[in-house]
C-alpha cells in the first residue's frame, strides 16, 4: 500500500524537485499496489531526458527503458524523476554535474556525496521511496553514507547494464538506495537476473536471498586516516554487533594499498574509450558546422561541453593506454585487480563479510571540497573502491551520527552473496535507530 509523502519540504529545498512533487501529489498517479521510484540520470528511460550530469547530453531523449527500470515498471513502479549526479559518474561529491549541485538533506551547506548524490537525497527525503543508483567505484556507498540511507551495490553482472550510460564497463553496477533494508529484500530480486541484452549478466548464479553474517573481518588498513568521529562511531558499531552475537576479527589485506591507483587507471581507461561516442553527431548536443574537418568537428563539441573533471579523466585514461605506458599502468592494474580478489576470497574463508567505515569523514562542506586537489578527492574513495574494483557486493548502512550528520559502515560479501548482506542490513536496522532529515517548508 503506497502512502503519499509530504512534499512541502521537498519543494522548499529546491525548485528543481518540482517534477517529483507533481507526480507524488497527483492522486490519480498511483493505483493500488503501485510504488514510486527514481533513477540516476545515467539510466535511460522514455519518460525523461538522460543527461548523466553532462552538458554534452543535453536534449537526449532515449527511446527505450533501461532493463532495471523496465522491470520495476512491470511490477507497478512509477518513475517519478531522474536524479542528479557527477558528470558520467566522475566524482565523490556530486559537485561535477553540468546541471547544479544537489545538497545534503541534513545540512544544505554539505555534499550529498557522489556520484549518486541526487539518488541518496531522494531516498533520504521521500518516505517509502526507492532510488536506483549506479556504482563504478563507490558511487552508491558514498552518498548512502553521507545522506544516512541504506545503499546496496550488487555483484558485478547481477543486474543488467542494458540502458545504462557507460562509465567503466568492467566496473559499472546498478543498485538500490532506500530508507530501509526491507526494500532491498523486496526490490533486489526484481532488478536482478540474466538479460540477453547484457552478456555480463548471463553467467550469474541464481540470486538467493538466504544467508546470514555471523562473523565480520575488519582490515587494519581501513582504520588509518579516519576522522575521529568516524573512528568513534565505527568502534561503537562493532561493540553493538558483538552484543548482537556477531564475531568481530581483525585481519590484514595488504593489496588494498594498490586499489586506488588500479581502479583509477582501469576506470579512466574504460571511460576515455566510452566517451569517444560523444562527438556532436549522435547523442545530445549536435554540432551543425558540417564544413569543419573531421577532427575539428569532433573536438569542438567535446571541448565545449565536457566539464573539467571529464576532461581530466579522459586525459588520464588516454595516457594510461598509450604505447609505452600500457604495460606499466593498464595491464598492471588488471593484475592488481585479480590480486585483490584473491586476498578478499582468502579472508572470506574465515568470515562472512569484511566490515569498514564507508567514508573516512562525514559529508564535507562545499568550501572544504573547493580546497581539495583532484588527487585528494580520488584518495577519499579508499574504502569504497576495493569492493567495486573486485566486483564484490557491498552494503552501506547508517551506523552513527556526529553533529547531526550521518556516518556509514560498509559490509562487503563474497561475489554473488547479496542475500547474506541484505540479512545483515535487516538485523542491523532492528538494533540501530536510523534518523531521517526533517525539512520544513
Amino acid at each position: 500500500m503506497t502512502t503519499f509523502p509530504t512534499v512541502d519540504g521537498l519543494r522548499a529545498l529546491d525548485e528543481k524537485h518540482l517534477i517529483f512533487c507533481e507526480r507524488l501529489e497527483d492522486p490519480l498517479a498511483f493505483e493500488q499496489g503501485q510504488f514510486h521510484f527514481s533513477a540516476k540520470d545515467n539510466l535511460c528511460a522514455r519518460d525523461f531526458q538522460a543527461r548523466a550530469g553532462s552538458r554534452v547530453l543535453k536534449g537526449y531523449r532515449p527511446p527505450f527503458d533501461a532493463t532495471p527500470i523496465r522491470r520495476l515498471k512491470e511490477i507497478g513502479g512509477l518513475l517519478i524523476g531522474k536524479t542528479n549526479m557527477d558528470e558520467f559518474g566522475f566524482g565523490t561529491f556530486s559537485t561535477n554535474s553540468g546541471f547544479g549541485i544537489p545538497r545534503n538533506p541534513f545540512d544544505p551547506e554539505r555534499s550529498c556525496g557522489g556520484s549518486s548524490g541526487g539518488a541518496a537525497a531522494a531516498a533520504a527525503l521521500i518516505p517509502e521511496h526507492l532510488a536506483l543508483g549506479v556504482s563504478t567505484g563507490g558511487s552508491i556507498s558514498c552518498p548512502a553514507s553521507f545522506c544516512g540511507v541504506v545503499g546496496l551495490t550488487p555483484t558485478y553482472g547481477r543486474v543488467s547494464r542494458w540502458g545504462l550510460i557507460d562509465y567503466g564497463n568492467s566496473l559499472d553496477k546498478v543498485g538500490l538506495l532506500t530508507r530501509t533494508a526491507r526494500d532491498l529484500e523486496r526490490y533486489l530480486p526484481v532488478i536482478s537476473g540474466p538479460d540477453p541484452k547484457d552478456p555480463t549478466s548471463q553467467a550469474q548464479p541464481v540470486l538467493s536471498m538466504k544467508g546470514e553474517v555471523t562473523s565480520v573481518a575488519v582490515p587494519t588498513e581501513a582504520l588509518a586516516d579516519l576522522s575521529p568521529e568516524v573512528t568513534a562511531a565505527f568502534g561503537e558499531a562493532l561493540k553493538e554487533l558483538e552484543r548482537n552475537g556477531v564475531k568481530v576479527m581483525e585481519v590484514t589485506i595488504p593489496s588494498l594499498r594498490y586499489a586506488i591507483p588500479a581502479y583509477y587507471i582501469l576506470a579512466t581507461s574504460e571511460a576515455s574509450t566510452n566517451l569517444a561516442r560523444y562527438c556532436g553527431m549522435r547523442f545530445g548536443v549536435m554540432n551543425q558546422e558540417f564544413d569543419q574537418g573531421f577532427n575539428d568537428f569532433f573536438a569542438q563539441t567535446r571541448s565545449e561541453d565536457f566539464g573539467p573533471e571529464a576532461k581530466r579523466r579522459i586525459l588520464l585514461g588516454t595516457f594510461s593506454r598509450m604505447v609505452g605506458f600500457r604495460n606499466r599502468y593498464y595491464i598492471k592494474a588488471l593484475q592488481v585487480r585479480q590480486l585483490i580478489i584473491r586476498e578478499y576470497n582468502k579472508v572470506f574463508e574465515d568470515c562472512d563479510a569484511v566490515l569498514t567505515p564507508t567514508m573516512p569523514f562525514i559529508a564535507p562542506r562545499f568550501d572544504e571540497i573547493a580546497r581539495m586537489k583532484p588527487l585528494e578527492m580520488y584518495q577519499a574513495d579508499f574504502l569504497t573502491v576495493p569492493p567495486n574494483l573486485a566486483g564484490m557486493p557491498h552494503v552501506s548502512l547508517p551506523c552513527g551520527y556526529s553533529g547531526g550528520m550521518p556516518i556509514g559502515m560498509q559490509a562487503v560479501g563474497p561475489q554473488w552473496a547479496e542475500g547474506s548482506l541484505v540479512s545483515f542490513a535487516r538485523s542491523w536496522e532492528e538494533s540501530f535507530h536510523f534518523r531521517f532529515p526533517e525539512v520544513r517548508a
Binding site: 566496473l171 541484452k197 558540417f290 588520464l316 595516457f319 592494474a333 585487480r337 588527487l375
Partner: protein
C-alpha cells in the same frame, strides 16, 4: 607530466585545451601519476582478466527481431534522406 605530453594526449582524445587548461592538467596529472607509481611495487603476475567475474558466452536462438525503431533512434540527430550527417572526411 609536461605540457607537451598533455597536448599530445589531448590531440589523441580530440580535446582542444586552452593554455590555462594545459597548465592545470599537467600539474594535476603529475600529482596523480606520481602517487600511482606505487603500482610498480605490486607483485607482477601473468594472471589477469578484463573483468572481475568470469563471463561466459550464452547464445540465444537465432530469431529475427528488432529492439528499436531506427527512425526513433535517429530522432534528434541531424539527418539527410534518413542518413546521419557528419563532417567532411578531409
Amino acid at each position: 607530466m609536461d605540457r607537451e605530453t598533455v597536448s599530445k594526449v589531448a590531440r589523441v582524445a580530440r580535446l582542444k585545451l586552452t593554455d590555462e587548461e594545459i597548465e592545470q592538467y599537467a600539474a594535476d596529472l603529475e600529482d596523480i601519476i606520481s602517487a600511482f607509481s606505487v603500482l610498480d611495487e605490486a607483485p607482477a603476475t601473468d594472471e589477469y582478466d578484463l573483468g572481475p567475474v568470469k563471463v561466459e558466452d550464452v547464445l540465444r536462438e537465432d530469431v529475427v527481431s528488432r529492439d528499436s525503431d531506427p527512425a526513433e533512434l535517429r530522432e534528434g540527430m541531424k539527418t539527410k534522406n534518413d542518413w546521419v550527417r557528419g563532417p567532411r572526411l578531409s
